[in-house]
Structures are given as C-alpha cells and as structure tokens.
Symmetry: C2
Subunit: 198 residues, 2 copies
C-alpha cells in the first residue's frame, strides 16, 4: 500500500485495527479525517487521549466514568436500595435509555464462563457482596440471556439467598414487536414458562 | 447520555460524527479505545493529527501524499508517457492493487456534475492539460461509470482530441464472476455494445 505514501498508509493501518473497521472503512475514515479542518482532527485526537486518561471505574458501582463516583451513584434522586446487576457499562446504558429505572447499578465487567476460564473471582462479585452489607431492598439480576449470563445469575442468586435480600431476574420472552414465527424455540419455551395470568 | 459521565459521552459524540459510524459503533469504538493501553491511544491520536498536517497534493498528479511528489510520480520504473485519469485517490489505489498498471495517474478530485454545480473549472482539468504539453503517448480515462463520470470522460476526450494524443476509456461490461441474472440492464446493453470478436 505504499502508493499512498507512508503517513496515509500508517493512518489507514492504525484505523483498521479498531473493532468493526475493515480495510475499506479505514480508508474511508482516513480520507474523511484528512479532509477535515485541522482543529477538528486535533479535537478528536485530544478527546480520545483525555478520555483514555481520565476514565476509571466508579468506586461504588464500577461503571466507567470520569469521576470517582458516577453521576448515577452520586444522585440523590435515585433509589439506592435497589441494585441492578449488569455485565457491562453498555448494558447499564441500555437500561438508562428506557428512562424508567430509578435504582442504581452494579457493573460486573464480565460473566462467569467456565469455557473461557472466567470464574466468580474474575468479575466484580466480591464488590457486589460488600455493597449488600449496607441497606439494600432488592437485587435485580440483568445479566445477558446467554449461557454465561444465566450461569452468573444463578451463582449470584445463591450467594444472595442467605442474606434475605430480595433477588429477582429480568423476564425472558418474546421481544415486543417480535413475530412469533421468527423467534427461536428456546425463547418461545421461556415465554411459555414465564406466562402471566391476565 | 449523561449516565456515562461527560468525557465518555463526548468521545462517543465525536466518534459518531465520522462517516459510516452510527451511535452504536461509536459506543463500541469508545469502549475499545478506553480499554487500550494509554500509549496506543496516544499513537493513534498523533498519527491522525500528523497525517492531517502533512498530507498534501502531489504536485504532478494531485494524489494525496506526504511528499511534494508522490512515490508513483517519483518512480523511474513507471511509464510517464501513459496517464490514467481517475476521480479520486481511492480509485488510484484500486488500480494500484491490480499491480498490472505501470503508467502514472492524474487525480481530478471530482467529476463534472451540472446537478451539483461542479463544472470543469472545479476539478483538476487545467492541470491535466498542462501535463499533456510534455511527452505523453496515451491518456486512459478511468472516471467512474456514472452519469458524472461519463460526462467528465466525454469532456476530457473532446479537449484531448486536438492534441493528437491517444485517448481511451476503460471498458464497461459485466464484472468478472458476475451472474448475468443479477446485472442491471444498462450494464448488459453496454456489455453487448462493447462485445469483442473471438
């Protein structure tokens, strides 16, 4: 690829290392960046560097944030007695987008996976148990609906049971707007098992 | 989106301004960047800034490069008497990837488009004509096979005719490996018109 000259090739090479960015997209991005005003490129570059530098885990819930305590844990308007346990910060963001959950979160940063050699000690479980020593009414387990997520949910519920704190799991079933025809069998069975009386 | 804290939100916002990067991809990229070692993020950032600073047009063929004269124009192994005219640097790259073209290029940076108000004076046409004052055997027009590309090809061929220099257009037809069934009618007709005797 030396027909671009080394600087441009290097930029394309580095961009194509990013996840979901292939050779073609990297090329397109590189050309776009070169066409931008110099100060815009500098701004993006410095945002990247400073975000990387300043973002850390919230000391309370372990979500990614640029403060010691994230805005959710710091808020007085949230119900600190209800903790939703999620696998990562993106899952937290997904629930925040609904705008209807008013409790706080706990981010595990992963799920238990014997296959990948990830045990209970590799995710933020100890930190969750420590939080339960304070006043907590309910733990809502919102790990993914995958083998790992389910395993993790089971494991957590067993840990919590002796404490007497209410422990729930988000419902599994047919997605809203989902056409039964296109829903997989396992989900259909789950939806049937979890049916609610009308 | 303030549940991420301002630094992370800002990074996601800026990344989602890039072409082909939606909100979700921007989120994924941001999380990826935050997970990288600090020096890798700094390297990517500085590559971006320095590429934007140092990349300019080749004084000969107007491709994007970080030198005054691009590696192709500077090469003694290339045939400088054959010039392929392309719309942009990516098209040049596409032909370079074939590894079979040994001439040089001329990058127009656009195509004539009355619809978008782009006239012959808005692309690097004058610069092409100036190059033809030196010894040139053939100009191969490789603008896109679109309305604008075709218009540009016609326009250039009319300008070149009086000079007596050979002027050709890359062939139009069914792509190699293309199934006739899925090829559009215009292409099929072009392939028919351009049939070659066996």
């Amino acid at each position: 690829m030396d027909y671009y000259g080394s600087e441009l090739s290097r930029l394309i090479d580095e961009l194509s290392l990013l996840p979901g960015i292939g050779r073609k997209s990297a090329q397109r991005l590189a050309f776009h960046l070169i066409g931008l005003p110099e100060e815009k490129v500098e701004k993006l570059a410095s945002t990247m560097v400073s975000a990387r530098k300043n973002i850390r885990y919230c000391k309370e819930c372990f979500t990614l944030t640029d403060k010691d305590i994230c805005p959710i844990c710091a808020s007085k308007d949230r119900d600190h007695r209800t903790i939703m346990v999620v696998e990562d910060t993106r899952d937290l963001a997904a629930y925040e987008k609904t705008g209807k959950y008013n409790g706080v979160y706990h981010v595990l940063h992963g799920a238990i996976s014997p296959m990948l050699g990830i045990g209970p000690g590799d995710i933020r479980l100890k930190e969750l148990m420590r939080r339960l020593e304070k006043d907590v009414d309910e733990v809502i387990i919102a790990t993914n609906n995958s083998l790992e997520g389910e395993t993790t949910a089971m494991y957590i519920s067993k840990l919590i049971k002796p404490t007497g704190i209410k422990c729930s799991r988000i419902a599994s079933g047919v997605p809203v707007g989902g056409d039964l025809e296109y829903v997989d069998e396992v989900t259909l069975l789950r939806a049937l098992e979890g049916r609610v009386e009308l």
